[in-house]
């Protein structure tokens, strides 16, 4: 085992605590009104009130219908570019230390992705008719 931890975990502890506090506050905002309107008697549900919204008439069909595959393509392209960005982050902070080799290797990487991007553009994958 190492004596010294790799990162200063004491800086992350407030975030964990903040997570707890934020969850508690948001949770309270959801639960408290429900309790309050039980007590004040505003909670008077009836079937029409609890029906889903559909411009004044009962819904015809299941709301969870099939969706356009383009959303799926957007999500995949996003993963690819997100990963590319993920490779850029360590590169951006260490550019001073890795010199021309590091810079050139990233440029080659960007060209590889640029080809993919040009292909997507050409194929019309970025179009949203």
């Amino acid at each position: 085992m190492r004596e010294k931890p790799l990162v200063d975990l004491s800086q992350y502890l407030p975030i964990l605590l903040f997570l707890g506090v934020a969850l508690a506050i948001s949770g309270a905002f959801v639960v408290l009104p429900m309790i309050v309107n039980r007590l004040t008697g505003t909670a008077k549900p009836n079937p029409d009130k609890l029906a889903e919204y559909e411009c004044g008439f009962p819904a015809f069909e299941d709301s969870r219908a099939q969706f356009d595959v383009r959303f799926y393509l957007v999500a995949i392209l996003f993963i690819v570019f997100d990963l590319e960005a993920a490779f850029l982050y360590p590169w951006a902070v260490s550019l001073g230390g890795i010199g021309l080799t590091g810079w050139a290797s990233m440029m080659l990487f960007l060209v590889e992705l640029g080809i993919g991007f040009a292909y997507a553009w050409k194929k019309g994958a970025l179009d949203w008719e």
Partner: protein, 203 residues
């Protein structure tokens, strides 16, 4: 002390939400449990000192991959009851996978308790003073350059593959050409005429 509590908290949550991912009846619930598992895995990474990997786990897996999963289970409207009926057919394959995973786990524990693979024998020692994102950066782009470029190629293939598989050009849509619209000037489209009374307009 707090680290230990945090470790057990995250570890229990990871295992628990992973189990719920498998056992949840509703596929959307499964994905949401999976997201919780990713989250806690990021917490574990953080405890291990890999803050960059932890953040990346959330950005890439929670922020991108799980969104795709959700899109798929929400949008494609797969009949999961029907899929489940094929359980008997895939059972042998499942058993095989269980055996492989179990063997891997036994080997991992065995290798770990043998203790010969000490972390100090790594090729590049972890530097102490700089943040680990920088330490990673100095290695990826120089020492592991070829692997890095290969990763780029994998991403390229993934992108092209996704487009080939999912992109369908639609017929009969008139696409807006923004360039052309911006290029258009009033004199191309509007004509001022001095219209005499009592005559029709010549178009």
């Amino acid at each position: 002390m707090i680290q230990l509590i945090a470790f057990y908290l995250f570890a229990v949550m990871v295992v628990g939400s992973a189990a719920l991912t498998i056992f949840a009846r509703n596929p959307v619930h499964s994905v949401l449990w999976l997201i919780l598992a990713f989250f806690n895995a990021a917490g574990l990474m953080l405890l291990a000192g890999a803050e960059f990997i932890a953040m990346l786990l959330i950005i890439v897996y929670v922020g991108a991959v799980a969104v795709l999963f959700l899109f798929v289970v929400m949008m494609l409207d797969i009949d999961f009851a029907e899929l489940r009926s094929g359980f008997a057919r895939y059972a042998p394959l499942g058993v095989l996978l269980i055996v492989v995973l179990a063997a891997e786990m036994i080997f991992a524990v065995g290798a770990w308790s043998a203790g010969s693979l000490a972390l100090s024998q790594r090729i590049a020692p972890t530097p102490d003073e700089i943040p680990n994102i920088q330490a990673l950066g100095t290695l990826i782009y120089t020492r592991y350059l070829f692997i890095f470029e290969a990763a780029g190629l994998v991403l390229l293939v993934a992108m092209i593959g996704a487009i080939v598989l999912t992109h369908r050009a639609r017929g009969g849509v008139r696409v807006q050409n923004v360039w052309q619209q911006n290029k258009r000037r009033p004199q191309d489209a509007v004509r001022n005429i001095n219209q005499p009374v009592g005559q029709g307009v010549e178009l």
